[in-house]
Amino acid sequence: MNLIHDLIFDYTLRNVALGSAILGVVSGVLGCFAVLRRQGLMGDALSHAALPGVCLAYMATHSKSPVVLMIGAALAGLIGMAIILLVERRTRIDPGSALGIVLTVFFGFGVVLLTVIQKGNDANQAGLDKFLFGQAAALVSDQVTTMAIVGGAALFVVGLLYKEFKLLAFDTGFAGVLGFRPHFLGGLLTGLLVAAIVIGLNTVGVILMSAMLVAPACAARQWTNRLSAMIGISALVGALAGLSGAIISVLQERVPTGPAIVLLLGAIVAISLLFGSAEGWVWDWIRRRRNRLALPEPSR
């Protein structure tokens, strides 16, 4: 009861709960499209690529305002995405390796910048390193508002173009033949993915952010064979894991938020893989066993 009371009236806890729930819903929804388009790793590359953007934005402005840092992260993420696409289309390097290169180089650059900032005589910089693993306890209402606006806008676009995105994810060629522009739609979806990542940076951090995108979608897929339901379940899983992980990390002060959320997500995915009603192993095993027992003996 106390916890519910605090969730409503405690400033920190309320921000944390709201922020992580928003993040969970947005990344749960966009993660479905990333997973179905077999771009689960894209989120990993984009979130790692955002780190140097955060650092450069801070170095340029000496401001830790959420909007400034988010813009920096988004720009770096988009540049990372452009480089990935360029390498994929213009060289013979395969997409997986292209992602690997961009992810590591950008992240390495980000860590160098972070070290430079921390070595400087700048008291204001304290807290930038929280972008690595996330610290939901540090969320302030400004950030939550920004997260709500960016996330709301992303969800609005998904709602508007649901039919187009579904078609793109299932059959890109057919989408092109029908006159929908696959390159445009694909770019837009990746852009929205960047938005989801950007709003998760404070809470989950760049290193584990991709789990927020991939895990809820994978768990949801085990429970349903319909895309709309998958998206709904994924949003719910994301919100639930985000919320619980953030609360755990606030109550146990030394646990960073990102790892707490990821552990919860891991448990949910494992349970879903085992018991999911649509694709889960246990039901699958029971169904097969029942079928085997039901087979009639061949007549001679």
């Binding site: 173009l161 039919k163 060629g173 057919f174 033949v177 319909r226």
Partner: protein, 242 residues
């Protein structure tokens, strides 16, 4: 009369290796046509180039006398079955409804009307009972029939099919060819990438023989002759029985 498809000097290359070389081809309206040739002849690439799905190195393509961009509303397409992920969370009815997305345009939502049309199309290919089945739980032949129903839902004047008979059961093959002949008899044009030489004379009234270059194109009885086949396939089809 303007041909349904008119291809001039078409060259397509992947990584500087030409897949299609200087192809000139007119496919008349109202025909059930086959594009035939050995593996790697560029058959799929030809229809993908016409549909604007692969970039062309040179040449021009007209569909009903127009560039594809403006003609796309009259064009239907059935890709190779292996080109999509059949584990995708959707059912047969939903996939067929996608055939109506072009007509709905940007932002338009499918409603009761679209659902009814999609069910009718599933019925035409004998798949109505499977409307709510997740597509991964269908057999290969059933999946191909769902794709055919999606093309029917498009109600296109010109339909392309990429290897619709690959790996399907006899019932499905019969359903597909009956449906295609019915489309042709209704005045539509159907272009099929086809592999099985034995069935070409029975199924198709127009044939384009392709092996990177266009070997020959015209009415089946004039074009589908040993001499042309020899040129398309080299020595590899010595025992073609007709």
């Amino acid at each position: 009369m303007i041909p349904a498809i008119s291809v001039r000097d078409l060259t397509v290359a992947y990584d500087e290796k030409p897949v299609l070389w200087d192809v000139d081809l007119d496919i008349p309206e109202g025909t059930l046509s086959a594009i035939v040739g050995p593996n790697g002849a560029g058959k799929s690439t030809l229809i993908k180039a016409i549909l604007g799905l692969v970039p062309i190195a040179a040449g021009s393509i007209r569909v009903f006398g127009e560039p594809y961009r403006t003609a796309h509303e009259r064009v239907g397409y059935v890709p190779q079955r292996g080109s999509v992920d059949w584990d995708f969370p959707t059912d047969a009815l939903d996939v067929v409804t996608m055939g109506l997305y072009g007509r709905l345009g940007w932002f338009g939502r499918p409603g009761r009307q679209e659902r009814r049309i999609a069910l009718e199309c599933l019925d035409k290919v004998g798949m109505r009972d499977y409307a709510r089945r997740q597509i991964g739980q269908l057999s290969g032949g059933q999946q191909q029939r769902v794709f055919l129903a999606r093309a029917l839902a498009q109600d296109a004047a010109l339909t392309f099919m990429d290897e619709p008979f690959a790996g399907v059961d006899a019932t499905t093959e019969q359903t597909i060819i009956d449906t295609l002949k019915a489309l042709r008899d209704a005045g539509k044009t159907v272009v099929v990438v086809h592999h099985d030489l034995d069935t070409v004379p029975r199924y198709f009234d127009f044939v384009a023989l392709l092996n990177v270059r266009l070997i020959a194109a015209g009415p089946t009885e004039a074009v589908f002759v040993p001499d042309n086949l020899q040129r398309a396939y080299g020595g590899k089809i010595a025992f073609l029985h007709r």
